[in-house]
Symmetry: C2
Subunit: 84 residues, 2 copies
């Protein structure tokens, strides 16, 4: 999986591709809902055909197992969308 | 209105504040829907309590009346949310 990169041993940075704005918007909403459920909130950058996610655990100002679990769940959600 | 700034005579940059992640997410979805209706797609940056919008008209690589009309519509949508 090529989506995620660990940056500065501090956060995950991943970019998902989509075929259009609509899919990127729906994906943003879906992972926003996941963030609310898990009470773990990434930064989300939405533009045409792309959603970039930056994620870390604010309480420890770094990476925790939770971040990697969330990343894997986002990957699975992304698989439900049409390839870009 | 303090939300919007014209940057480099090229694009609008505006940041809206919210009381939580949920409202910021719902607002992102609402203006994403507006973008689809108008077929005019900004870049949207969502984080806890905040949505930043960058918007310009790609066809002319600069600002058009459409951008200012969209900005005003976003302002009106934002008024429906609870103050941050």
């Amino acid at each position: 999986d090529d989506v995620w990169e660990v940056v500065d041993d501090h956060h995950l940075d991943g970019t998902y591709a989509f075929g259009d704005f609509r899919d990127a918007l729906e994906f943003t909403y879906e992972i926003g809902e996941l963030a609310e459920e898990e009470w773990h909130h990434p930064d989300l950058h939405l533009e045409w055909g792309e959603v970039r996610v930056e994620m870390w655990t604010h309480k420890i100002d770094g990476l925790h197992k939770t971040d990697f679990v969330m990343a894997a769940r986002m990957d699975r959600i992304h698989e439900q969308y049409a390839p870009a």
